[in-house]
Symmetry: D2
Subunit: 232 residues, 4 copies
């Protein structure tokens, strides 16, 4: 966990995975950048490694995150993602342990430490209450709570799961921020999750598979702000 530094809620993570890249990604990032300012919300965008620099250079409000990184030190390691290189490219943080790139517990621990030392936020995915609690012991900045079986399905995980994971994580370390994900398809889903008490949420397919990606991003960020204002 970074010292004296945290992402101000509400925030939203957009994960392009391997769906989008290059010019199209940069163009969408610019639109989201404007929407993030308009609604005064923080947006974490996790593009391909190769797009981190371009997006960091082209936007003002976005927090660019790497989709993954390795814990190796400076030196050998052809093909691995060096934390210092991620930072130097302009990233604000790194996503770790996504269901499509699961890590051993020791590697999650090493990567969180490397993130701290490099000045990167760490956001760690977990797919059960037990894993959320376990990862909380490692003090990342943010924990994503997302039951793996719901990823990409359009079904939300529900207020019960959100409540249980929140209690579990805050019980270990109240400073960890929580992102409730899984099944966000539109502004309504965003609204519901935040109304249910979350600080943050996010999506991949909700935007990547939308007919009008820019409109959908705007709808979601607008809903994020509205729900947040009603709760707080």
């Amino acid at each position: 966990m970074l010292k004296n530094q945290r992402i101000e809620p509400p925030f939203f993570e957009i994960g392009p995975k391997a769906y989008m890249y290059g010019d199209e990604m940069v163009a969408l990032a610019k639109t989201i950048d404007i929407a993030a300012k308009k609604y005064d919300v923080r947006v974490l965008l996790t593009p391909q490694y190769t797009d981190i620099y371009r997006i960091a250079q082209s936007t003002e409000n976005l927090l660019v995150f790497a989709q993954h990184m390795d814990s190796l030190p400076i030196g050998r390691g052809n093909g691995f993602v060096l934390p210092e290189a991620v930072k130097a490219a302009g990233a604000a943080g790194v996503l770790l342990n996504h269901a499509e790139k699961p890590l051993t517990f020791s590697e999650i621990k090493s990567c969180i430490k490397r993130a701290e030392d490099t000045g990167l936020y760490s956001i760690v995915c977990t797919d059960s209450i037990a894993e959320a609690k376990a990862v909380a012991e490692l003090s990342p900045d943010i924990i994503v709570c997302e039951p793996t079986e719901l990823i990409g399905t359009g079904r939300t995980s529900g207020a019960e799961y959100a409540k249980a994971t929140k209690e579990a994580i805050k019980g270990v370390n109240p400073d960890i921020q929580i992102l409730q994900a899984a099944g966000i398809s539109n502004g309504r889903d965003v609204y519901d999750v935040i109304r249910a008490g979350a600080d943050a949420t996010g999506t991949t397919s909700g935007i990547m598979k939308a007919a009008d990606k820019e409109a959908m991003a705007d709808e979601m960020l607008s809903a994020l702000r509205r729900a947040w204002d009603e709760v707080h």
Copy 2:
């Protein structure tokens, strides 16, 4: 193998691995870019993924290569390196199967196919005569012949190994270009390898660990040109 397109020899691969990144990498790339033009040699540079775009934008003569990529198609796959993203960032090609990132045979095959379809050169590392011959069956653009046990030792693999691998590869597919590596520490080593008949060579530690990296790069590229001219 890309159609109607090949890298004109002599050429030289510089592999920064996880030794160098960001501004320092870009600065060195610019110096090498000038030297490549001065000596009229082709230089393949394989920086961290996050530096591909910056270097491609900052140089004119370098061929920027990714250190690795995955064969996944556009879509899901958080944390994986998408070929289309590598290409869009300005890369000319991709390095595959390095001893520090070994791939299964099926994955090498898939990646070479993805490189072809995306318009990227593929350069595949092999660590024995048998593997060189095997990979030649897959028709990558370039094969690196480098006995694993010599990597980073400063000992060269010798003319005999170079000759045997060349015969093996050309026997399968004469269009594949060959890069003889392992143990290149200075200009003299470069000179010897090219004099022995190679089209190309390369180094990581020879430059990364040099007291004056820029001077060493210049020395090596100069030797490359000199040896090439004497042979041809």
Copy 3:
């Protein structure tokens, strides 16, 4: 490749994978053992590691193979499969590089070497003509030719693929034996493959999913013998 030792054709590989184990596996192995003698054919059976010893002790004619092994030397390596332990349990050989357990080229090479040194036959799976040729360079005892996309489908790969892989492998090393697999569902399929010129074939689902496994094994081995006698 083991010296002065080869499996006399025709032979047949039965791969229980993780479908069968323990008493049921031993019982089926005993039935197959009798059928192997009755039809004078060689049968390679690849049970779970934990069943190798029991089956080797309970049968006379079967050649028990491990489903995989690691190339590590005697010493550290908790959880890895030691070649010497496989041999000591009574195995005759080891299967390598199955599509469900793909290996890097270097690891295939190391495992074939370890098999030779330990006195184990090596049988290596390949899923394309290029890979078959490539693996042939490493001189395993047997190469399995099985296009991955057909595994478990009940569709056979056809005489053309069999002919092409045979030529490719024999062109590299005529001493390597070849097993043509993929899509063997019944005795008729076995008959056709051997009639088309193969020395050997095999199946997993053809027997594992049969209503009467013992009857199906008998039918297949009977067809193996009949086809072999008609050809030779």
Copy 4:
């Protein structure tokens, strides 16, 4: 965690890894079996997969554990270790997440569940207080606490680490049994660990590298009993 069933302390884990196999392993197992009875202690032995059946058949008091297993269900999965096959071979349990075979958190969770369903004890290695606490959330039968993070720091694991991990684990689930390992070289070390409050300890190299393995095993089990009696 298995219901209504636990290993009676004091107990001791001996991990042959890939050091020993076959007849020599069975002979040592028989000697340990006698010593286990003589000192009325429980001994967990984790041989190569291929030796599980032989040792289970040849001993009366030993608890044979697999060095690892996979969470796959019955069916496809060539080369993977099926839980049901491990059980059928006579194993009492399975070791998971050893530093030489680290697993993702999701896989540890799946394997503990599979162990429960198959009737196998699960013993999970952890290398930090955080990981011990994390794994405790998954309710395995036993957690191994072995502080690799202290290696090279000048601090000894000792009573402090044992106390901290015990408190962490028991705070999550008091039914989990704890094995304190790392650096057990002789009977004196065993004595000290148990005197400091542990229920169990274990070794690999302490016995595998001893000049007289059988004598060392006897010395350690004797010390285990003596220390236990003095404490309780």
